[in-house]
């Protein structure tokens, strides 16, 4: 049985285009607005969705996603509500893959077995856990795969050819290539570097390659979608949400539509990339 993620990449391949992966943090800026954004993502052109599980100490993230995490926590978001959000999404959309992304401690605290059972039931398709390298596979990766979830690994510019097989072992769904050395939402890699990196990964794996970190405009997303199977945009979307808050941090009525408008323009860029 193929998973939603495998199915979606199959469809993209058949359509001859790269995909758009959109990241938003669960509960940012509030549960309600976050749900509105999430439900609007598929028809705005998101092919896959990454939902950030907020954490107080997001060590691999830049200022934009740090702030979104803290906004979500401040509005009362927690793991239960994040799974609830997925459940509500899944009730309306059976096709768009959902990947939960974040750090290990909130999962460890929730209990690995309980988390995998609840995430599977809610309709989660995959996991990306930043602080679980292959060296710690027994913690969550192996149990997740056993539970039928895709465990998606991050490969980076520092993952050399000797290490790549280790990183690609026990992974499924797709490979997330972190295109820069650094944190989210800061610098960008050149087109040539990205093309070379995707080529290198393709020599080691048949899995689809999504490229993220530092992609913020329709032009950048298009350039990435030309050489990779998908482009991931996170900080730029989250920044749109931040910009639609009033002086007291309360979301203005256009918070969701403003974020979704950006997604539409990113999607248009990605869809035109190989035309």
């Amino acid at each position: 049985m193929s998973t939603r993620i495998e199915k979606r990449f199959g469809e993209l391949r058949a359509a001859g285009r790269g995909g758009l992966v959109v990241f938003v943090t669960a509960g940012d800026p509030t549960y309600e607005v976050s749900r509105e954004i999430l439900l609007g993502l598929p028809k705005s052109g998101a092919d896959l969705i990454e939902i950030g599980m907020p954490f107080t100490d997001p060590m691999a993230d830049g200022p934009a996603i740090q702030a979104s995490s803290l906004r979500a926590l401040k509005s009362g978001q927690n793991m239960k509500k994040t799974l609830q959000l997925v459940r509500e999404f899944r009730a309306k959309d059976a096709a768009t893959p959902i990947v939960l992304m974040g750090y290990y401690n909130p999962i460890y605290s929730y209990g690995v077995d309980r988390f995998l059972a609840d995430a599977g039931k809610a309709g989660v398709d995959g996991l990306i856990i930043v602080d679980l390298p292959p060296e710690e596979d027994e913690e969550l990766c192996l149990p997740a795969m056993k539970a039928g979830l895709n465990f998606i690994r991050l490969a980076t510019p520092t993952t050399d050819d000797i290490r790549l097989p280790t990183v690609l072992n026990n992974t499924s769904g797709f490979v997330y290539y972190v295109s820069i050395m650094g944190i989210t939402g800061t610098r960008s890699a050149s087109d040539a570097d990205i093309a070379a990196a995707v080529g290198r990964l393709k020599r080691h794996t048949d899995l689809p390659i999504a490229v993220g970190f530092g992609i913020s405009t329709p032009e950048r997303a298009a350039a990435v979608a030309r050489v990779a199977d998908a482009a991931v945009v996170g900080s730029a979307v989250v920044n749109r949400i931040a910009a639609a808050l009033d002086a007291n941090g309360v979301p203005t009525p256009h918070a969701a539509s403003s974020a979704l408008d950006l997604v539409k323009s990113l999607a248009a860029g990605v869809r035109a990339a190989r035309a």
Binding site: D57, P58, L70, N105, I107, T159, V178, M181, I183, T186
Partner: protein, 408 residues
């Protein structure tokens, strides 16, 4: 899996295992970008440990730059005053830069040089580790960036100026709660972005493997010297060792060489803040539970959702919501007993030692002394207690004056 009910090992000194674990604690919970470098550090450290020239270099700087061995001092007046066990103090506050932190910084910068790294970063809370790192960077002529929470910068101005005098760049961290844990997050973010040329000198016995082991090894000189010194002075081992614990580097340094001497009672003193029962404290073992942060599994202050809770302590050096993984293991194996001392107990001990022994301790070891004050009178006069006086209090006089209502 090791838990409190696990069998006692033959030795407490063989850890960690090949995965960097002490029981279930420790490990390498870091982003993939850092993983190749973490493995390289592990390899380089193993090579350095096997290389006699590395040991010679360490010995040279210990003797001529740090000023080791530090004395083991019999605190005679304090002993009389408390009216119980004999109290000895390991005087690591007499080291160059005023604390035990330099022991580790010398070791790590020598390793960084062996690895060909050309830039050093560090995090700091109270500023002691930042000062020690800035010091060795000046000595070895390497550029140094120290991340420090904006809140800590405000309360530790003298150390901020010291670091700048030593040529370091001090970067204020405003994210999160702007204290030690946020400084560590920011240092990790810098490292991810500059992994090719940069070495991260972590100040405490925590972080991803091999850091907890490496820091312990560099700090174990404290316990090794103490063992020789007490045998020379008393002809026997002490009955009790006491040290304060934030991340726990001075404590593991004193404790480790004694772990297999089962007759020696070992006590770690966490920062109790306003009292563990108030929730405003930094006592990870007493008031926390196991979790994963900053590269390792260990006891953490966290809420029901696994979100990290801010620590609170009068001492910026103990103000951290985690603890080194080896301490978490020793806690569960019940080899070391962990207790806490409050802000007030530390403050009282701070003033007492100044008046009775003419030594102004740092607020961190003042916590250890706060506990010794309660313990010593309950013990017989033939008994021996050794506490680690791991830092001097010059940096704290402003904070203490403010707390006592004195305007400087």
């Amino acid at each position: 899996m090791s838990t409190a009910s696990a069998a006692q090992p033959n030795s407490f000194r063989t850890g960690p295992d090949e995965h960097g674990r002490f029981g279930i604690f420790g490990g390498r919970f870091v982003a993939e970008t850092l993983m190749p470098l973490i493995l390289e550090v592990e390899k380089a450290y193993a090579a350095a440990k096997a290389d006699p020239t590395f040991a010679d270099e360490m010995e040279y700087y210990r003797a001529h730059y740090i000023g080791r061995p530090s004395p083991l001092y019999f605190a005679e007046r304090l002993t009389r005053e408390l009216g119980g066990a004999k109290i000895y103090m390991k005087r690591d506050e007499l080291n160059h830069t005023g604390s035990h932190k330099i022991n580790n910084c010398v070791g790590q910068i020598l390793l960084a040089r062996r690895m060909g790294k050309t830039r050093i970063i560090a995090e700091t809370g109270a500023g002691q580790h930042g000062v020690a790192t800035a010091t060795v960077c000046a000595l070895f002529n390497l550029p140094c960036t120290v991340y420090m929470g904006a809140t800590d910068i405000a309360r530790q101005q003298p150390n901020v100026f010291r670091m700048k005098l030593l040529g370091a760049e001090v970067v204020p961290v405003h994210s999160g709660t702007a204290t030690l844990k946020d400084a560590m997050n920011e240092a990790l973010r810098d490292w991810v972005a500059n992994v090719e040329n940069t070495f991260y000198i972590i100040g405490t016995a925590a972080g991803p493997h091999p850091y907890p082991t490496m820091v312990r090894d560099f700090q174990s000189v404290i316990g090794v010297e103490t063992r020789e010194q007490i045998l020379a002075a008393e002809g026997r081992l002490p009955d009790t060792l006491v040290a304060c614990i934030g991340g726990g580097s001075n404590a593991i340094g004193l404790f480790h060489p004694f772990l297999d001497d089962r007759e020696v009672e070992i006590i770690g003193v966490e920062a109790g803040g306003d009292g563990v029962e108030t929730g405003r404290h930094a006592a990870s073992l007493t008031g926390g539970r196991p979790g994963v942060l900053h590269g390792n599994r260990t006891y953490l202050l966290q809420n029901d959702d696994g979100q990290i809770i801010d620590a609170h302590s009068i001492s910026a050096g103990l103000d951290y919501p985690g603890i080194g993984p080896e301490h978490s293991w020793l806690h569960e194996m019940k080899r070391v007993k962990y207790v806490s001392a409050t802000d007030q107990e530390a403050l009282d001990a701070f003033q007492m030692l100044a008046r009775i022994e003419g030594i102004i301790p740092a607020l961190e070891p003042a916590h250890a002394l706060g506990y010794v004050r309660k313990l010593a009178p309950t013990r017989a006069r033939e008994q021996i207690i050794i506490m680690n006086l791991c830092g001097r209090g010059d940096k704290d006089i402003f904070a203490v004056a403010e707390r006592l209502g004195t305007k400087l």
